[in-house]
Symmetry: C2
Subunit: 420 residues, 2 copies
């Protein structure tokens, strides 16, 4: 039996003790005095909060952070990102993912939905750190056929699926409608349903994608097209959605698909503006928050992303009441967990022990009138003291085991990539 006792932490404005056993919250009470393998004392100034679930990221791209910025999309992709990505080895993906996980833990994230190559290395990084992840079976076609390396890697990942830690889940991750052929998308819809796995796809990210889709598919929007292929459903996560029609919003809501919103990336690449108020507050669509990869953000901080999401929602709708802090905090925590079918993201007895301890004795947390408003609008990673994932302490009082080794190895990868 694995046990962790949190003494004197702040929950809902009260000081409580929290007992965690075998990865779940066993009991939350005014005072708990039982022996535990590990005790963390919150001293009355660490708040126990739901942690972040990052709904869309390309983790290993941390190695490309700051490599190329402030450029036209196609210059950026063709002259910088694709050539350097082509040089990434499995070892790079391992250390890039380790670096991403380090950064995510520091900012209170316990889960990320990844879409990238070298699944084995991503899984090794996840296993070595104790974080949660959704690893995507990648689908990209050339000449209408699935790339052989995707087919091979996906077959291998599906085969070892049952042997993975239960912190790791597998998703179907067809890249986008313009990179995956129609029959392959149909197959994905069918197989994902058979295997009861989520689908994770980029969609309606650029104006060009929408135009080309309408031209090729009898006027259908990308959302309508995906629906016609059976892709839209309650286990589907739609990344970006910055070019939605009213009809798209209705369809997403009816199918109970989840939108993964990445405001920083959408602004940085000028992809488009997500209609948060129309889609979520009026349209009732389910929502989660992601950071996208570090080459288009350029960090993986959900704390920053929720502020961008809230402020963008306001200026986009011209309503200061849109994008409320409490709603965006929910979207970035349990919203992301629910999107991938993980029963977590809330602090309650019986639930998985995923949590962050937030330092209240911190300049950014005073005034101390509303904790969630402070988290969304004021906090940064320096406010996050401790992170717990499935009952295991990933960061304690700002310290993560093996941090320097990761930084050194990742820096070596960057140096080699820049030279090569």
């Amino acid at each position: 039996m694995n046990s962790l006792l949190l003494k004197n932490v702040v929950l809902g404005g009260k000081n409580v003790d929290v007992l965690i056993v075998d990865g779940c919250f066993r009991s939350i009470a005014g005072r708990i005095d039982v022996p535990a393998e590990k005790v963390i004392d919150g001293g009355g100034h660490l708040a126990l909060c739901a942690p972040f679930f990052n709904a869309h990221v390309h983790a290993a791209m941390t190695l490309l952070r700051g490599y190329a910025d402030d450029m036209e999309l196609f210059t950026w992709l063709q002259e910088y990102i694709w050539p350097i990505e082509a040089k990434l080895t499995g070892e790079d993906v391992y250390w890039g993912t380790r670096l991403a996980i380090l950064e995510m833990i520091h900012s209170g994230t316990v889960f990320f939905a990844d879409m990238y190559w070298h699944h084995d290395e991503v899984i090794r990084a996840v296993e070595d750190t104790g974080i949660r992840a959704a690893v995507g079976l990648l689908f990209i076609c050339a000449d209408g056929k699935l790339l052989e390396r995707n087919e091979h890697a996906n077959r291998e990942l599906l085969a070892r699926r049952d042997s993975l830690s239960d912190r790791i889940l597998v998703t179907y991750a067809p890249h986008a409608i313009y990179t995956v052929a129609e029959p392959v998308l149909r197959d994905v819809a069918e197989e994902a349903a058979q295997n009861n796995l989520p689908i994770h796809i980029h969609v309606s990210e650029t104006a060009r994608e929408v135009e080309e889709c309408r031209a090729a598919h009898g006027g259908m929007t990308p959302i309508a097209y995906l629906d016609s292929l059976g892709i839209l459903g309650p286990r589907t996560v739609l990344a970006h959605c910055v070019h939605l029609t009213d009809g798209d919003i209705e369809l997403i809501q009816e199918r109970r698909a989840v939108i993964a919103h990445m405001p920083c990336s959408n602004m940085k690449l000028c992809s488009g503006r997500f209609r948060y108020h129309d889609a979520v507050e009026r349209g009732g669509c389910r929502i989660a928050i992601g950071t996208d990869g570090a080459s288009s953000n350029n960090n993986l901080s959900m704390l920053e992303e929720v502020k961008f999401a809230a402020l963008s929602a306001k200026i986009e709708s011209n309503l200061p009441t849109a994008g409320k802090a409490s709603d965006l905090f929910a979207a970035a925590t349990r919203g992301g967990a629910e999107a991938y079918g993980i029963d977590s993201g809330v602090i309650a007895e019986g639930k998985p022990a995923d949590a962050m301890l937030v330092e209240l004795n911190h300049p950014r947390m005073i005034g101390d009138y509303h904790l969630e408003a402070n988290l969304v609008y004021s906090a940064d990673s320096s406010c996050i003291d401790t992170v717990i994932c499935a009952g295991r302490v990933l960061m304690e009082h700002g310290r993560i085991d093996g941090e320097n080794e990761v930084l050194d190895a990742a820096r070596r990868c960057c140096r080699r990539l820049a030279r090569a």
Copy 2:
């Protein structure tokens, strides 16, 4: 003679030593071995960078952080902000300003241009901490006449002006065109010129302000109206400017006035969108960055503000090449210094020793291809290791003297305000 020696810090990609004497950079060289009162060793992993100059803030409003968010402007002002502000005592302003300074130092800021009440308390907070500040002579009218308490406070501040530390400068801070009568604005223009002091004013912040100005002043925009009163000049800082016509941009550029851009506040209150590309990149206007007060942001982090500024510039102009990291870093550092006539914001021999040391051995700073891109797009306050202002160390390896006393006192002020 006051001396500080920085050993083995990173500057322009090279490892150097830096000698600071009497508040200025005396020499920067590969190796300096002289006795100094204090030595800080950068260990080859702390980068010496220009620090931030916050061009517009209401510092003591940190006490109102998170008190009221996500509301219509007038509900927010009339039902929440004004009633609680009316309860602020001089003691509150002192501790609120101390809290603001704590937060600013942690995120690499060495200067703030304040616009608030209780000058004596603001000055006491600045003197007690060693930061730089511009303290505004506040002008607000009722029934066409300057408020008596403003007149009194301004007279006192002007009288003691010569006895202030040379880190503190005085500005003329008429609140806005809709709160200050025309003859008072004319007097401000004249007096500021006579005393050779900067002017710091809110302008073109809301659509309503522009409409009312046009109606009252023969179709003139607020910018044209200020120009007609002699307010626009190279020592004038125009806060917000989110409703500019092409003519306004030309006028600001011709007069060499400086725009203080506050993207977070403008988004959060839905004030409007600053035309960064048109005003700065095409129009050639001078630019600085501010955070505004904590009740409309809700933090004072220039690191966050430059990212919002860069990303807003891109999505607003639909140009991913707009709002380049290096330009926004310059705006937030030397741009703010120049706006207030301070010869600082660059790391060079002979210049005032204002600097921050940035931790390069940090997940957010790897990839390490472009330091300024990492600072603008990736860093948060956890990357700032040490802050130096006029040769004095305000924060060393994350520690600031007296931090807990400030947090406790500020929290007590918040509790009393919430109850009162």
